[in-house]
Symmetry: C2
Subunit: 415 residues, 2 copies
Amino acid sequence: MERITAKYLIETPLEVEAAAQVLAGEQSSGTFVEVPGETAELKRRFAARVESITPLETVTEPAIPGAVSDKRLYHRAMLEVSWSIENFGYNLPVLISTLQGNLYELTQFTGLKLMDLEVPSSFATHFSGPKFGIKGCRQLTGVEERPLIGTIIKPSIGMTPQQTADLVKTLAEAGIDFVKDDELMSASANSSFEDRLDMVTRVINDHADKTGKKVMYAFNITDEIDVMLRRYEKIVASGGTCAMVSLNSVGLAGVKKVCDQGQLAIHGHRNGWGMLNRHPFLGIEFPAYQKLWRLAGVDQIHVNGIQNKFWESDDSVVRSIEACLKPMLGGYSVLPVVSSGQWGGQAPETYRRTQTTDLLYMAGGGIMAHPSGPCGGVVAMRQAWEAAVQGLTVEEAARQYPEFRESVEKFGTRK
Amino acid sequence: MERITAKYLIETPLEVEAAAQVLAGEQSSGTFVEVPGETAELKRRFAARVESITPLETVTEPAIPGAVSDKRLYHRAMLEVSWSIENFGYNLPVLISTLQGNLYELTQFTGLKLMDLEVPSSFATHFSGPKFGIKGCRQLTGVEERPLIGTIIKPSIGMTPQQTADLVKTLAEAGIDFVKDDELMSASANSSFEDRLDMVTRVINDHADKTGKKVMYAFNITDEIDVMLRRYEKIVASGGTCAMVSLNSVGLAGVKKVCDQGQLAIHGHRNGWGMLNRHPFLGIEFPAYQKLWRLAGVDQIHVNGIQNKFWESDDSVVRSIEACLKPMLGGYSVLPVVSSGQWGGQAPETYRRTQTTDLLYMAGGGIMAHPSGPCGGVVAMRQAWEAAVQGLTVEEAARQYPEFRESVEKFGTRK
């Protein structure tokens, strides 16, 4: 019978083997006392199984509080635990409850992070995954052999639909590939979703009629289910190509319902991610996280960026990009969205470390606050990636490309 | 204009005032550089506002890694920050993105926890909230002036529908008020949702016909939206009164869609909660968390239990029960679900500290593994609460009530 395997980084005041058995028991057939009915046959079929234990260091201070005992030694290890597909079938929310449920609360652990998961091949017949992915997003925008260049409407909130549309017009004329609403902005008192959609799509459609290039705009449809579906339909009807959802705020069932509609590329924003990931021994790592959203059908997912304005290390960002680009069950292509404090200067290092241009490369202030205006910002961003693929350094690129040089002069001293 | 206020516990290597301004800027109109269009008028209307700062201790080690600097002092404080309702209107997912979005990733913080939130009175006209709450759940079960006594089907997973139905029959005859599926169990290879629903409801309806008492069974409908709604309708059609959803696994939009149907009491299971809450300086505290789910319409929500098998302290459990029982905008009644390692012995202490019987008091092993079988377990649980309300100690109750005495003898040495 097919099994789902999860990999955990744990820390425990118990012997590692004993802690692993607690995890497996709690998340399958066990409770705190033996109960009638937990037969050997039932256990054989439904009990979770500890597949491997790789001991790591032992430390003297617990990573998170709440240990079962006041022992002074805490053992770290990597565990692999598996469950039969018979336990929950093809049910992503129950898979999450099984892999990430009550176990974070167990006193037998002083640290627990879900690092990765493997699903069996039959998942491919039950979850159609991203409808567009990298190839589809390239087709929708007409961008080949370089990253899609994108930006975020800033100020995040407060602009009128007309102001937003005017800005989109400027950006479209500058050659931008992608624009998105901020995650804080869905509908504000001075910018209803419908008005913004109407005015922005008019600009985008006019520009496409004139030039043949259709800017992808990720309208933030984040809200309750019915509202999201209504907005989704309106985007489709107006000829739009993309909708954005805040993954953690909407939740898996809602996001999957949106993705299932299949007519728009879905831009998955991971705001709130820091809460799930910032502590090294609590929560979930991105390789596991992004698989869940790919199964749900998200086409684009945020991975932060090299030298970002947030806490995340470059190594972690690189691992995230690699996780997205690794095929899952041979497919489930998802476009990594590089974002946060980006202005182009990080392109050489991003390319050097990932050797890919299959990215949506986003800059907010880096485009909008460019010394020559947003047009200069877009040009500078394309130049940055041309230079990156040629293997130029930031300094070499600045000598060769005037708009990029302006970016370096304005933003290059930051961080 | 009405405002939403959030209360945060923070730790920062900056001056607290400066960190507070970063939080407010990042979560409203700001980005890492000033951009055109961020006018004074726009800021006045849409910028988040720091309402108060209460300095706490200064420490020399950061609570979580990723600080902006390697300073050696980290200042803790309680902050209140407010946003105009004009920023996002009545949109719970965007409210979450605003109150809990990117800010966990800011290097200006080495600790950030959302402690509580206050919504303005107009929310009451936009969110109908729990359709049943405490009063409705009491009416559906016919239980007055004592906690609803509930249990969880154990083993969590692996029983056939017939075995589950047989157990429910035993429990119903024992006088149980409430039974729920485990969160790991929605549909397994040997227990389809439909078969389990059919067999269990037949037992419950037969028992109700005979005795007038209808056991509330929380069928775990957790899955994708369409599946959940289909299962929901089947429960309604078969005369059931309750459905269970795993809140964190389904997510807010999906849960609200289920709650909006309005025909069943919704049992909100918070598995995964430890990930959001176990670290003292990361995530969200229960007073804030439960408000979001009450707005979404959840009727019953888990609060753990006194002397639980998890890491949570009794003080925290008491605060959670109190948070649920405090009216929100004058209503939004939600029934606290006391659970985890409970067997009745915790009833006196639970009552002493909360002075309430408005609880759903759940025992899994504590009922199922009772020395006289599940019937003895249910009787013991009612006795425990009779004793608790009378102010008896566990020892005094054990002398007075024989079934409870058996519980004490079997479970009383644990923890």
